[in-house]
Structures are given as structure tokens and as C-alpha cells.
């Protein structure tokens, strides 16, 4: 449905430079990106980022659109695959790292965010992406999300929300709407679903957007902007599960997806939360964007988090004399 594409390009102030300034970790990509506009047209193509594995998703699965938009976003930013790490948990969506030419980490269910923090702290020069499902991120992984967000680690988190547990064949997920029938809610879901956009904002994420897989250009742009954001960025991606997503298929979303109102102000905390869950429509676009001091940069100010850089050093900087004095 390309006619529904790109409900609204993220605002210009979403890109660094025009928004509030914040310290950020030394990521060579970002330097490259900043200059990208002044250079000749991007030499890379999305297909250059294709991994060794072919996606094994069901035909029609919403994840395909997101994958290709993501690869294009990488190309747009001319990201160096040698310095790109894609981390995930377990789920249909979490299979994504295998489909990307990058350093991939397909870990265990629900732990993608803390794993990615370790990757970033171990080597801050990497561009670190996290991909995962609604179950992975909001159910078993729910305890990690607030902490990575409040720390504001420079990681881009893509939550591929199909409102179900795809890989385990269709149980209730934290985003399954009230009343839906699932394998574990044979009489209908009685819970109120969680809202990852409101979560991310209230946890302190500095960049929070939502997009729908069908609108591939919007997805591509929002992913690129999220990567550019110097801090924790979260993108809520709506992606129908054609096999188990009873009631949350393309029709459902097509009827409800709407771009955020033109006058939405992405620096208004309350309004952003408010708009993220409205009865009249599922809004897409940039909900919130307010940069804050980034975690790795703060650590580096205190000497920490130089990680792999150290490897190149000839000798460690341990001050043995002062240690001896301290322990005697």
C-alpha cells in the first residue's frame, strides 16, 4: 500500500545540530553522517547490507518491510558494516540480525537491551542497534527497558510490535488488545495493553517515534533519524503477524494509522504521552525528541568506557605504586 506511505517526515529539528546540544560518545559514523549532506550521493545501497541468511518469515509478514527499510536507512547513513552491531533477543523479529551484514548478536529472550549496553560500553565506536518483539521487550525484558532509557545509552532500539508472540505461535502479548482471543486467552484478553511509546517517554528516552511497516519510507527515515540521535532512541514499529496476529492484521492497521497532527510538538512530554494512545487513531511519527546527556559520554568524562581503544595500547595504565600504598 504505497499510497499510505510516509505519513509525516520527522521534523528537521530531529537531526542533531538543530536540537538542544548534548554530549555524545565518539562514534565515527556520526562524524561521517554529519558531513553526509555535503557529499556526493550515497554510494551504498540497502542490498549492500544484506546478511548471509535469507529471512525465514512467513510470506506477508510485516517484518519484511521493516528489514528492507532498515537496510536502506543504513545505506542512507553510509554506516560502515565493520562497525555496526545488531543485537536481538528471541522471537520472529529477533531473527533479524542474521539478515543483516553486520556484527550480529542473537542472544536470549528479553535481554537484548542490557546485552547491547555491554557491546556499546565495550566498544563505544560501534553503532549499536537493538531489534526485538513486543514480547521480548515489554514482557520478559520489561525490567531492562526503563534502565537503559534512563541511562540514555547511545543505542537505537527498534521494537517490532505485532501484538502477539509470533515465534511461539500466537499467545497473548503485552500489546494484545483487550478482548482479543488468543491461545492463552481463549475467553478474551482481560488485561489493558501496554503502550511502548508512553513507556519510552516516561522512562526518559530522548527520541521516541512510531511507524507502520507498510509506510516503508517513513520507517526508513525514522530509523535513520533514530540512529542519528545521540542517545537512547526508541522506534515503535507496527508489523502485522499474518499467521497468528488475529485481529491485528493489515486491515486493522490500515484503518487506524494516522500521522500525528501537524502541530504536534515533540518537546511536550505530556502531550507526547497523551497522543501515543488515542481511541480515534494510531498515530505515527515523531512523538518526542529532547536530547539529554548521553551515558557513554558521561562515563568517558570520568575516564571509563574507553573499552577496545585500550587494546591498541602497549601497556596498561595501572598505577601499581598507588595500589601498593593503598593496600599496605
Amino acid at each position: 500500500m504505497p499510497s499510505q506511505e510516509g505519513p509525516r517526515a520527522p521534523r528537521p529539528q530531529a537531526s542533531p545540530g538543530s536540537g538542544p546540544e548534548a554530549p555524545r560518545a565518539s562514534n565515527p559514523h556520526r562524524e561521517a553522517l554529519a558531513e553526509a549532506g555535503t557529499e556526493a550521493p550515497a554510494a551504498r545501497k540497502g542490498r549492500d547490507y544484506r546478511g548471509r541468511l535469507k529471512p525465514i518469515w512467513c510470506p506477508g509478514c510485516g517484518n519484511f518491510g521493516i528489514l528492507s527499510a532498515m537496510l536502506n536507512a543504513f545505506a542512507d547513513l553510509e554506516i560502515d558494516p565493520d562497525n555496526l552491531a545488531v543485537v536481538s533477543g528471541i522471537g520472529c523479529s529477533s531473527r533479524l540480525p542474521g539478515f543483516v551484514r553486520a556484527y550480529g548478536f542473537h542472544g536470549v529472550h528479553g535481554r537484548a537491551l542490557p546485552t547491547a549496553v555491554g557491546v556499546k560500553l565495550g566498544n563505544p565506536r560501534l553503532t549499536v542497534m537493538v531489534v526485538g518483539g513486543d514480547g521480548d521487550g515489554l514482557s520478559i525484558g520489561a525490567g531492562h527497558f526503563p534502565h537503559v532509557a534512563r541511562r540514555n545509552v547511545d543505542i537505537t532500539y527498534l521494537m517490532l510490535d505485532n501484538r502477539t508472540y509470533g515465534l511461539t505461535k500466537g499467545q497473548t502479548s503485552p500489546t494484545t488488545p483487550h478482548g482479543f482471543l488468543t491461545k492463552t486467552s481463549p475467553a478474551g484478553v482481560i488485561e489493558t495493553p501496554l503502550n511502548p511509546v508512553a513507556f519510552a517517554i516516561s522512562f526518559g528516552a530522548g527520541y521516541v517515534a512510531r511507524a507502520y511497516t507498510v509506510n516503508t519510507r517513513a520507517v526508513r527515515q525514522v530509523i535513520a533519524d533514530a540512529i542519528r540521535h545521540p542517545g537512547f532512541a526508541m522506534v515503535h514499529l507496527l508489523t502485522p503477524c499474518v499467521t497468528f496476529g488475529r485481529g491485528s492484521g493489515y486491515d486493522f492497521f490500515n484503518e487506524r494509522i494516522q500521522p500525528l497532527p501537524e502541530d504536534h510538538d515533540p518537546t511536550d512530554f505530556c502531550k507526547a504521552i497523551f497522543q501515543s494512545d488515542q481511541p480515534e487513531a494510531i498515530y505515527t511519527g515523531l512523538f518526542y525528541h529532547v536530547p539529554r546527556p548521553e551515558y557513554v559520554a558521561s562515563l568517558q568524562e570520568k575516564g571509563a568506557a574507553h573499552g577496545r581503544e585500550l587494546e591498541e595500547q602497549a601497556a596498561p595504565r595501572i598505577d601499581t605504586d598507588s595500589l601498593i600504598a593503598r593496600f599496605s
Partner: protein
């Protein structure tokens, strides 16, 4: 009292500064070239309850805090009553009180030697105007009483208080002097006891937790992900200070699962990384432990054991996590389990642990325990003068496009590309996989991958499985046996220990067992002990001749089910005599000796 080797106890209400007094005493001794081994029992709760510190002093190294007391420092009357039953015959009592008003008949049931009533609280309150400085008055008094150089007491007190406000520093130095002066000038009668004067430039004093943290730092660790837990927290706390100084990171995560996840992430990205936790944390890490195994991501996990299960007894010691270390986590994957036998070994084991983890790309679990973690010992300064390891050893750093992460090799070890390396893109995964990292459930590949991973353990016990052996009063440590010839020699060395009673133990009990073996020899009982430092893979090369070479085997463990004894039963037909304890307290040399004697009587 033997002034070459004696034991002091300090006891008082928690909050009276008993623990600080003990710490500073150990530092004074170290500066004066006297070895110590000290231990503390924390109260169950943060406050309330009692504090107890026991310090053993020795001109030669001492390997445990001892049992019978030679000097009792009682901060109150209850302290006196607590300690009076634990003394040796000539023990000295130093007790807080008004020398004038104290009724000596209160100590009528004292079976020891001289009693000194010292007005510690009184001096603190009246001379210093700060009752809480009582412990520093005591420090001045006791160090003076024992004949430690006043300058040493001054130095340690100054170093401790100089981080505080200057008024606090001054007051406490005054308290120190007042305590010293009281003993020097006013102590009515003052008999016999003085510590020997020993030449030297002093020792380090470290707890087991300090030694693990420092050992990790020197082993090249640049990332610790952790979550506070008794009795392991001090490791992360110390590294929180030290790691940033070398560009590394201490990351306090939201829980233990996140800590290990972050550690695996950091390790994947190329730094030596570890976590330190206790039983409950290790339990929570069980799933990710398997990811380390199948994903072949190096990691060092320190488990400072405490009384289990569940929350159990957080401040008490136990050796009851061997089972989870060996078998925890679902499914099967290679792992290595090591147990340091002393504070010094806490430092040293970390280098081996990191080397194995990185070279073999496996999880290495290091089992310490509360009794070792919070014990303190003197160590040679040389220990911290050795060259720290700076980097991860990687011959290749650039890869062609055919890079295969899980390449099947004879050794089971596959060359590892790190993120950032040109051309090395690949996927690490916890699913079973083809050699290039793509998921695979294909039966033949599965079989091959399981075998590949387990091949890594082959001969690991030979290369790294050092054992510590004690016979009489000597200690030997055998390491490495890469060639068959060396292996033969190592085996032969252990075989030489033929005898009546063989003791097998692991971890922190080595300190008391060593002493018990030596004491047994003095009583004419032939015994020897073996402590493997690597518990898994199992070092058959040394344990077999040891078991076969002794008529009776005692296995010493601080647990109920005999976890190591049962593990050995998988390998050997033998019927060990168990020496078990699971009451939260470490063994004393006396308890081990008694068991040796008992077995000797029936042998």
C-alpha cells in the same frame, strides 16, 4: 603465648567500631612485618547484634585465623563472656572499663592469664570528648601494649581518617595518642608480652574480595557488570574505583541477569569482562551461562558463596554452590569451575580464569566464599608489582568475507573476529547453528557442534589444573602438564604422597586443613591433603594417585550433601569419610585435626 604465632579476638556491640579496629590492627601489623590472617562475623542485620573480629598474627605466614585465643579485647562485659570460653591457658584479657571502679570478681571465671582493665570509653569521652572514638583509643592502647611502633599506628589511622573532615582526623589522632599514653604511662602492671621486631618493608593487607578485584584488574579485565549482593559487593565496589583509572567500566545493572547480559555484550565486543555475585545471582544467571557456552563468548563469573539456598544466610560462609556451578543452566555446554584456596590465590586465580575464558571461549566460574571474601591476609608487595596484562591476545584482526565464526577445528577453538574488525561480520547465537552462525537443527551438524564445543575441555585440566598439596608442614603446587612427560612427573609427585590418611578439599578450607595436617604430623599422624584449584574439568592425573595412595580418604566440605565427594564418586570407587559443616561458620584447624585423629584411630 607463642609470640611467633598468636590469636587475638575483638568483640563488641555492632556500631562500636569493632570492625574498623580490627582492620586498622591488621594494617599496623602489616607495616610492622608481622603476618596476619583475620576474619570478621557481621551481624545478621545492618545494625544491632554483635561484631566479632579475630586476628591471628605470625612471624611466618599464617593461613587461617586460628582457633584458641591468646588475647581478648573486650569492648564490653558481654564480649568478655562471649570469648572467655575460647581461650588458651595463658591468654591476656584487655577489657574496657574503669580500672578504679571495676570489680575484679566479675572476671572470676577467667581461666587465662593477666587481665587489664583499660578505660577506653572513659578516655574517649572525657579526654577526646567523643565517645565514638573509643575504638581508636583502643587501637592506641592495644598497639602500644603489644609493642607495635607508634608511628605505624599513627600512619594507618591518619590514612583512614584523612578522607574525613579535619576535625574528625584530629580527634581520632588524639584518641590514638591518649590510648597509647595510657598504656605507656598508667597501666599499673604490664607483663611479658611484646610482638617481635621483624625487618622488612611491610606487607600488603587484602581481603579475598580485594584480591579478586585486583587480580581481575591485573588480568586485563576492563569491564565488570554487577549487581550488589552480600558477600560479593566489595569486588564491584573496588573495581568501581579502579576500572575507570584504566579506561575500563564498572556497570551496575538493574539485576544479575542484566549484569551478565552486559558482560557477555562487552566480552563479545572485545574486552575482558566479568561479573561477581553470590548464589542468588548465579541462579538468575543460569540461562545466560548457557549462552556463553553455546555462543562461545568468554566470561569469568565469580560466585562468592554464602549460606544457601534462596536468601539463606547472606553473611555466613558455605561451599554449597558447587552443584549449580557444575550443572546449573539447562542443557549441556563446556564450562570451567575453579576455586581459589587462599587470599593470595584469589588474586592469582583470576589471571588463569581470564586466560582460559578467552582462549577457550567458555564460561569460567570462580567459587570463592564469604569466609574467604571477608577474611584478610598479609601478602608480599611483590604481588602488585608484577606486570599487568594489557590486552586481549589476537593474532588476526582482519578477515576475508568467508569468515566462519564457529569453524570446526581439532581443538574445538574457532578463530574469533571482534566487532570493528574489517570483514569479520558474523552472527553469534544461542540457537544451535551452522559453523557460519546461521541457525541449524540438522542432526549431523548438531552432533558435530556439540562435540566441537566439548573438545575444548580436553586436556584443559592438564594445562591449568594445578593442585595444592600439603604434607607435614610443606606446601607444593603443581601446575601445567602440557607434555606427556610433565604429566607423568605431576602424577608421580602426587603418587609420592602415599600414606594413611589423605584429605581432599576445595577452596577456602585449605588454610585450616594445611595447619591440621602439620599439627597431625607433630602428633605423629601421617596425613596429606590435596586441593585441586580447578574443580572441573577434573584433574584425574593427580586425584587418582592421591586417592589410590591413601588408605583412608577424608573429604572436607562446608555443605550438607558432600557435593565434591559425590562428584568424585562419578570418577572413583572410594568411600570417603566426610567432614561436613553447614552451620555458616568456617572450619577451625582443631576441628579438622580432631577428624584426622578420629580416622587415624580407626585406620
Amino acid at each position: 603465648m607463642n609470640s611467633q604465632d598468636f590469636v587475638m579476638a575483638v568483640n563488641g556491640e555492632a556500631g562500636e567500631g569493632v570492625v574498623l579496629f580490627g582492620d586498622l590492627m591488621t594494617q599496623v601489623a602489616a607495616r610492622s612485618n608481622i603476618h596476619i590472617s583475620s576474619t570478621q562475623t557481621f551481624p545478621a542485620e545492618v545494625r544491632g547484634g554483635r561484631s566479632y573480629v579475630q586476628i591471628r598474627y605470625g612471624v611466618d605466614s599464617v593461613f587461617n585465623p586460628g582457633d584458641k585465643l591468646d588475647i581478648v579485647v573486650a569492648f564490653d562485659r558481654l564480649a568478655y563472656h562471649t570469648c572467655k570460653g575460647m581461650i588458651r591457658s595463658e591468654a591476656i584479657l584487655l577489657v574496657d572499663g574503669d580500672p578504679q571502679k571495676t570489680d575484679r570478681s566479675e572476671f572470676a571465671d577467667w581461666k587465662g592469664g593477666p587481665i587489664y582493665v583499660i578505660p577506653m570509653t572513659q578516655i574517649a569521652a572525657q579526654q577526646i570528648g567523643e565517645k565514638r572514638s573509643k575504638n581508636i583509643v583502643a587501637l592506641g592502647a592495644v598497639t602500644a601494649f603489644m609493642g607495635f611502633p607508634p608511628a605505624h599506628a599513627h600512619e594507618v589511622a591518619k590514612r583512614f581518617f584523612e578522607k574525613r573532615r579535619s576535625r574528625i582526623l584530629e580527634k581520632n589522632l588524639a584518641a590514638l595518642d591518649a590510648g597509647r599514653e595510657y598504656v605507656e604511662q598508667k597501666l599499673e602492671r604490664r607483663e611479658g608480652f611484646r610482638v617481635p621486631q621483624v625487618e622488612g618493608d611491610g606487607y600488603l593487607v587484602m581481603s579475598g574480595n580485594d584480591a579478586i578485584a585486583l587480580g581481575a584488574l591485573y588480568a586485563g579485565c576492563r569491564f565488570l557488570g554487577g549487581y550488589p549482593i552480600t558477600p560479593a559487593s566489595e569486588i564491584m565496589q573496588l573495581l568501581a574505583e579502579l576500572l575507570p583509572e584504566v579506561g575500563g567500566t564498572m556497570y551496575q545493572a538493574e539485576d544479575e541477569i542484566a549484569s551478565l547480559a552486559a558482560v557477555l555484550g562487552a566480552s563479545y565486543s572485545g574486552v575482558r569482562a566479568m561479573t561477581a555475585t553470590s548464589g542468588p545471582g548465579l541462579s538468575l544467571m543460569s540461562e545466560l551461562l548457557g549462552l556463553s557456552g553455546i555462543g562461545e563468548i568468554p566470561v569469568v563469573i565469580v560466585d562468592v558463596q554464602r549460606g544457601g539456598p534462596s536468601t539463606g544466610m547472606p553473611t555466613k560462609t558455605e561451599q554449597s554452590d558447587l552443584g549449580i556451578a557444575l550443572h546449573g543452566g539447562h542443557g549441556e555446554f563446556p564450562r570451567v569451575v575453579m576455586a581459589p584456596i587462599s587470599i593470595r590465590d584469589c588474586f592469582q586465580v583470576m589471571r588463569t580464569a581470564f586466560e582460559i575464558a578467552e582462549r577457550y571461549q567458555v564460561p569460567v566460574i570462580v567459587l570463592s566464599e564469604q569466609g574467604l571474601a571477608h577474611r584478610r591476609a598479609t601478602l608480599p608487595k611483590q604481588l602488585l608489582r608484577q606486570t599487568p596484562i594489557a590486552r586481549v591476545a589476537r593474532p588476526i584482526r582482519s578477515w576475508d568475507s568467508g569468515y566462519v565464526r564457529y569453524m570446526i577445528t581439532d581443538s574445538g577453538i574457532s578463530p574469533r573476529a571482534l566487532p570493528g574488525d574489517p570483514g569479520g561480520q558474523h552472527q553469534v547465537t544461542g540457537l544451535e547453528h551452522w559453523d557460519f552462525g546461521g541457525p541449524s537443527y540438522e542432526p549431523a551438524n548438531r552432533t558435530e557442534m556439540v562435540q566441537k564445543r566439548f573438545r575444548k575441555l580436553r586436556n584443559l585440566d592438564r594445562k591449568y589444573g594445578g593442585v595444592f598439596t600439603f604434607k607435614g608442614s610443606g606446601m607444593r603446587q603443581q601446575h601445567h602438564a602440557t607434555t606427556d612427560e610433565e604429566a607423568g612427573r605431576l602424577s608421580a609427585a602426587v603418587e609420592a604422597f602415599r600414606g594413611t590418611i589423605g584429605i581432599i578439599g576445595w577452596g577456602a578450607t585449605a588454610g585450616v586443613v594445611r595447619e591440621a595436617v602439620a599439627r597431625a604430623e607433630q602428633r605423629g599422624i601421617d596425613s596429606a591433603a590435596i586441593f585441586p584449584r580447578m574443580l572441573f574439568p577434573h584433574n584425574d592425573l593427580t586425584i587418582r594417585p592421591f586417592i589410590e595412595g591413601h588408605q583412608r580418604i577424608i573429604v572436607v566440605e562446608e555443605n550438607y550433601t558432600g557435593q565434591y565427594a559425590r562428584f568424585l564418586n562419578e570418577h572413583y570407587e572410594y568411600t570417603p569419610t566426610m567432614l561436613s559443616k553447614y552451620d555458616g561458620l568456617p572450619f577451625t584447624p582443631e576441628q579438622v585435626l580432631r577428624k584426622i585423629e578420629e580416622v587415624a584411630d580407626h585406620a
